[in-house]
């Protein structure tokens, strides 16, 4: 017997294999912009920034088994880095001349700060800011990962630690009002290198930049999962000891995927600031971090594309219900999470998979049975094997 590494799944034409991603791209690049007015589209743009976090969580949690309940930290840091740059540009001496110290952000002036803190200085430069948006959260995640995974802290303990970090950062931001804008966050952002981000055309452009980056993030995730790294990720989620005793430095793999997920979240945070026009601690703490996990779970934690739909749907639900029944929303959200975990653990993507499986089985039953055929589970070209590995194909 000769070995062919290509499985029947790989033999599909590329557009067929990528159908879920193509449909998703069509929805966010064409359908939504055509169907919605600018106000609603801007909301969608905001929801799609959460999808960056969800895509990171699919990699880190769905495949790597590392449940972080503190992704808001990285989303927030990315968002704050962007906000600091925009705030400095909005605080030129001309427009802040009524302050007792012109040329510094307004909230600093209100807090009796008379000179720009050194921490803020480098954020005059856009190049530095763009670098810091991914580097600062990435570095923090790297340090957290190093401290946790090298000591083999995992599972629930890791989740609790990340949640504690989310609480710490949001408390820190609120407490250091003079340096961070406190509970209000950093507001009144106007221009980016002179380009007004509040205009209609800027909102369209930012929406498309965001959508493009998100598709790129999904493609990056797909590439990663297709490599040997992706298989190792699954392997160490299911049998960490076996991977370790196959000669792999398990901690290094976990640190890498956790750091990458943090960087993706940070890109989402920066795009949030640009589209929404402010950043505040309410996107950093425990509650938003857990909500982001719910987006991922609803979409399907093994599906990159599903994570995008999950972010969209839960947030549409949130804005609809919190407008109509504000006091019920939190219960609904909790109920949704329990339902996902108990009834459809692979989320929406898992549901579409089961539906296709059921269809394929029905088709197989209707067909005349070939005589003497073994009940081979991988025989059908369209039949996904029972493994939840195939969830990626879903959400079409």
């Amino acid at each position: 017997m000769t070995i062919t590494p290509s499985t029947p799944k790989n033999a599909l034409p590329w557009w067929r294999a990528q159908l879920p991603l193509l449909v998703m791209s069509a929805v966010i690049l064409v359908a939504l912009p055509l169907a919605l007015d600018l106000f609603r589209l801007n909301l969608v743009g905001k929801y799609l920034t959460y999808a960056f976090v969800a895509v990171g969580l699919v990699l880190c949690w769905g495949y790597g088994g590392i449940l972080s309940l503190g992704q808001g930290v990285f989303f927030g840091l990315g968002g704050y880095a962007m906000a600091m740059f925009l705030k400095l540009e909005a605080s030129d001496p001309e427009s802040t001349k009524i302050q007792s110290t012109p040329g510094i952000p307004d909230f600093m002036d209100w807090n009796q700060i008379t000179a720009l803190p050194a921490l803020w200085e480098p954020f005059h430069s856009l190049t530095f800011t763009l670098f810091a948006i991914v580097a600062v959260p990435g570095f923090l995640a790297f340090i957290i990962g190093l401290a946790m995974f090298k000591r083999r802290v995992g599972g629930v303990y890791f989740s609790i630690m990340t949640q504690a970090i989310a609480a710490i950062l949001s408390i820190l931001i609120i407490g250091q009002q003079g340096y961070t804008g406190g509970v209000n966050g950093i507001t009144d952002l106007k221009t980016m290198l002179g380009w007004d981000i509040r205009t209609d055309s800027a909102k369209y452009i930012l929406y498309y930049v965001n959508a493009g980056l998100l598709i790129a993030a999904v493609l990056l995730g797909q590439w990663l999962l297709k490599s040997k790294f992706g298989k190792l990720l699954l392997a160490l989620r299911d049998k960490e000891e076996r991977v370790r005793f196959s000669g792999y430095d398990v901690a290094a793999f976990k640190i890498f995927i956790f750091t990458l997920a943090a960087m993706l979240s940070a890109v989402g945070g920066a795009m949030f600031t640009l589209q929404v026009g402010f950043m505040s601690p309410s996107f950093v703490g425990i509650v938003p971090s857990i909500e982001m996990v719910i987006f991922t779970a609803v979409g399907g934690r093994l599906s990159l594309v599903g994570a995008v739909y999950g972010s969209l749907l839960v947030n549409f639900g949130k804005s609809y219900f919190s407008e109509s029944f504000p006091e019920l929303w939190l219960f609904l959200m909790g109920g949704l999470f329990i339902a996902v975990v108990m009834l459809f653990p692979n989320g929406l993507a898992g549901l579409t998979d089961s539906w296709r499986e059921w269809q394929a089985r029905r088709r197989a039953r209707d067909l005349p049975r070939p005589t003497g055929a073994a009940p081979a589970p991988t025989a059908g070209d369209d039949t996904p094997p029972p493994s939840n590995l195939r969830a990626e194909g879903g959400a079409a």
Binding site: M1, T2, I3, P5, T7, L224, S227, K228, F229, K231, L232, L234, A235, D238, K239, E241, R242, V243, R244, F245, S246, G247, Y248, D249, V250, A252, F253, F256, P377, T378, P385, P386, S387, N388, L389
Partner: protein, 246 residues
Amino acid sequence: MSEKIVLSVENLTVSFDGFKAVNDLNLYVEQNELRVIIGPNGAGKTTLLDLICGRTRATGGSIRFKDDELTRMPEYERVRRGIGRKFQTPSIYENLTVFENLEVSYPRGRTVFGSLFFRRDQLLLDRIEEVARLIYLDERLDDPAELLSHGQKQWLEIGMLLMQDPELLMLDEPVAGMSVSERQKTAELLTRICENRSVIVIEHDMDFVKRIAHRVTVLHQGKLLAEGSMEHVQADPKVVEVYLGH
């Protein structure tokens, strides 16, 4: 000495809250030797393998593999030096195919970036084919590993270790839960794979031990009770009393 010593365990001790699971143990394994470790439950057999592969840290003593002291080395380093370990219950990746299970165990692309840019080549395919045939799974390469029988999972894990071509292979109860014919095939497999490496096997099935062992080590309460050929060990009155007699 006719053969080179590959593994030397000297004065090895591990204590769990004062209980010495392995107590001042000496053990030498030669090149190309198939050593079987037997002993009653709680004798410290699995703990000994844990100590050698790094799953448990030694309290005292030394473990030398070829020219390296292992006691302070991280687990993955020990694997890279050539030590492979099979766990008692089959430990395979159920969500991957048989092919992918073997591929993931291949000792190239072991770093994060190495694995990201790892590409399948002919060398890997040849190796997988060779190993798959050895472990009787060459027809099952595209099947998810979760569909394998218990015995086949045991073989697959042995195959995953063979992918690494280890110089010392440690197998914890490889025939547990296997049918008679599977035991037969496993015995053949073991004699074939120890032709160019040393193998340590923990086993309770005496017929199986008789069939495969070059030498047998008997452990009792963390200490060495007897060592030698199967006939020699079986004739030892101490061994009969604590273990074989029951």
